[in-house]
Amino acid sequence: MSKVKTAGIIGDLEYKTAKVKVFYWLYFAIMVCVSLICILPPVWVILSSLKDIKEFYAIPPTIIPRSLHFDKIWNTWNEFRFLRYYANTSYLTLGTVAFTVFFNGLAGYFFSKLKPTGSAFFFLLILWTVLLPNTIGIVPLFSNIVDFPLLHINFTNTYWPLWFLAAVNPVAILIFKNFFDTIPASLVEAAHIDGASKIGIFLRIVLPLSIPILITITILTINGVWNDFFWPYMILKDQSKWTVIVAIYNLRSTLPADIQFLGLTFAIVPPVLLFLFFQRYIVQGYAIAGGVKG
């Protein structure tokens, strides 16, 4: 960290007085407690999932595990076919990222650079979608998925409706639009004069110039898919299609507790790793999303 002046309330002079120092370390101690409350419960579950059966069901439960059996991870992974749920989630994620970037990106490009007369009305309509609480649409939306209007296709047990829903993301459209607004119009015009088509300009000029925002949106989308529960749960009823989250929810009543703990471990570890690798982009993404909402 460079020596940047941080905007703290306690000035350097005050920090040196004894009274302030006592309070400072008191608050420091409080923060240590807060961070332990945040970190320890999941860590305890992860460590407990590695206990042997005897210790796992011991009464009272041990806070610090005495036995750690790492082979349990591999056994459970194979026995309950977690690879399949991971593969399903990855496949779902791939399509979701593609739909989010392509359709919302295209919409952002449309509202930022093309802006034909009359587009403002649709932009407002999309903005309104953010504000409206989604308490009414669930039943008709589900009925659209079970029996798609006009085409009469049943989309249950496929990933298509989840990908279609990824295209309906007003916040992503806003983020894209705000970013594309910073791309100079002269670049787009130059390409237009050189004879590039509108979609060509989007794919060859706008998207390559937007790599940072693409990474941010991609990572937030991956994180979102990993968290997503309701629609996957409603649509993916066939066990061979389950995502990890749907699996740990549906299996909760049939599996023994220690296996469930391992299932939780399998669900917790990937998003944490994703964050550790891409921390910068995720925090940035939340700042952007927060800025949009604000």
């Binding site: 608050y27 308490t135 649409g137």
Partner: protein, 309 residues
């Protein structure tokens, strides 16, 4: 476009030519947005409108089957569970404000002062937000096990508190669920407040110090005004978010014991997918929607009044 038309009301020929020119120039732009608009139509706008429409019909499966006027609304509101569900939903909101509203502000202000371990504290408060919501709920369901073997009960036993029933106790179940939600979500809000606190010009604090202001004065007159807009925004987002709470009660209690933790959204879900009464489900959805909209509009009114003062 409408502005152009109104300027030349007596030139229909010119208007027509302009219209054709417009489409020659712009058809390829509109073509790019059509797929996205279709997705919005079928997966957002049409469900919303058809939900409102469906709430006035008797339903068979998910299809309308005879107009019944306000009968669905009357049924839903007169149902003995409705009153309790409505009160419960407000209790969730109230408890989430009591437990979870001030914590992110306080934690953000403290972290902002920390000269040691600053990034560790940031990471650790955000850590629960990394855990998928369903996984977090299942995790707490284990920890809040009601018998003496539950980890939480064991820990409070060490300081001499008898084991509690937590999720199984009708008086504690909402508080317990709110605790788990707060645990998972306060960190993300804390980061928002921290970002806002970073925006304070440090010269303000220095100038205040030179003028003899103590820490408390600086906090009240510089820090609080800086984050005040964010406090207002967080308030309305939290109220409207918790009012639609659904996942956590579904996973932790399924609305029990004896509907003590039932919420409007969960009840609406049960109407549709457990009792297969789609009309009742959308009617309850509309009721929830109206309550939320009234609260939101009221909030923006108050805010406007504050802004003027």
């Amino acid at each position: 476009m409408s502005a152009n038309i109104s300027m030349q009301p007596y030139a229909p020929k010119k208007r027509k030519a302009k219209f054709i020119m417009y489409w020659i120039k712009e058809w390829s732009s509109w073509l790019l947005i059509v797929p996205t608009l279709l997705f919005f139509f079928f997966f957002s706008w049409q469900p919303l409108l058809s939900g409102i429409w469906l709430s006035f019909f008797k339903t068979k499966g998910f299809k309308a089957d005879g107009f019944v006027g306000f009968q669905n609304y009357i049924d839903v509101i007169q149902n003995s569970v409705f009153q309790q569900t409505l009160i419960n939903t407000f209790m969730y909101v109230i408890w989430s404000l009591v437990i979870g509203f001030v914590i992110p502000i306080v934690v953000a202000v403290i972290i902002n002062e920390m000269r040691q371990w600053n990034s560790w504290f940031r990471f650790s408060v955000y850590f629960p937000s990394l855990i998928p919501g369903i996984a977090a709920s299942l995790l707490w369901a284990f920890l809040f096990e009601p018998s003496e073997n539950g980890v939480i009960n064991m820990l409070i036993g060490k300081i001499g508190i008898h084991p509690l029933q937590w999720l199984q106790d009708p008086h504690l179940t909402i508080v317990t669920i709110v605790l788990t939600i707060t645990w998972r979500s306060f960190g993300a809000t804390t980061l928002l407040y921290l970002a806002s606190l970073q925006g304070v010009n440090s010269e303000l604090y220095e100038a205040a110090s030179i003028d003899g202001a103590d820490i408390w004065r600086k906090f009240r007159n510089i820090t609080i005004p800086q984050i005040a807009p964010l406090i207002g925004l967080t308030l309305i987002l939290q109220i409207s978010g918790v009012f639609q709470i659904f996942n956590e009660p579904l996973v932790l209690t399924e609305g029990g014991p004896n509907n003590a933790s039932m919420t409007l959204q969960l009840q609406s879900y049960f109407y549709a997918f457990r009792y297969f009464e789609a009309g009742h489900s959308v009617a309850l959805g509309v009721v929830t929607f109206v309550i939320l909209m009234v609260m939101t509009i009221y909030y923006f009114r108050i805010q406007k009044k504050w802004d003027r003062e």
